[in-house]
Amino acid sequence: MLLKGKKAIPSDRKQQESEYREMVNRIKPKPPLLRNILGAFVIGGAICTLGQALINFYLSFGLDKTGAGAAASATLIFLAALLTGLGIYDSIAKYAGAGTIVPITGFANSIVAPALEYRREGMVFGVGQKMFTLAGPVLIFGFVTAWIAGLIAYILK
């Protein structure tokens, strides 16, 4: 039997689709889970350890806890931005996966990468507009949920 066009025979089609999906699943390679987990753990952990070292470094300069935390974040963000600009961050990410996405450096990368990518489309419609293609949703959902948390705190006060 030939494969049917999309809307040819609906009931037959459902079965054909599920049969095919099974066939695909049998053959599809799985991601190298153990290697990926190890990469994410080691590199993600290393970034956090660097963050801890930076916090301690700024604390030793007499900054308070909040200040040292903010300074450490800004430093990590700068380093991630620089590595993205140099084209190194995505090479590390190949091995680290979520290890380079989940830390604050991943947020920085998600802002710098499109800014860099679209500069050829100009400063306003390129860099300016595209900078938040990935970070925009993060800020939107972050702000809205935080606002709700604040609202609840206000009501419960």
Partner: protein, 128 residues
Amino acid sequence: MLTTREDKIMEYFKAFVIGGGICVIGQLLMDLTSYKITPAHILVGFVTGGVFLSAAGIYQPLVDFAGAGATVPLTGFGHLLAQGAIKGAQEKGLLGAFGGGLEASAAGISAAVIFGYLMAVVFTPKGD
């Protein structure tokens, strides 16, 4: 507060293990859904997840325990937002709930935007 050498090593060890562990959760979310969950989803999910955990009072103990291991991952960014908004609401009322989150995270966001802009001016994408 004076800390001994062992305390320092323990502090780094905890940051490494907890930070790495949080990243592994992100990795599992992507790998086990055969990449239906994209990096964009991870970024959004971890920040909002951090807000929820923080509002529920679960995240602060983790920060106290693991230090940078809990603040560097994006869940820590969500924690910052939530605590800012909650503190704002408690201290300044309703208006504080609007401003608190952004106030607390302003430095980080501005840093990312400014460095992002500067890098875009200085570098060109390398491609592959």
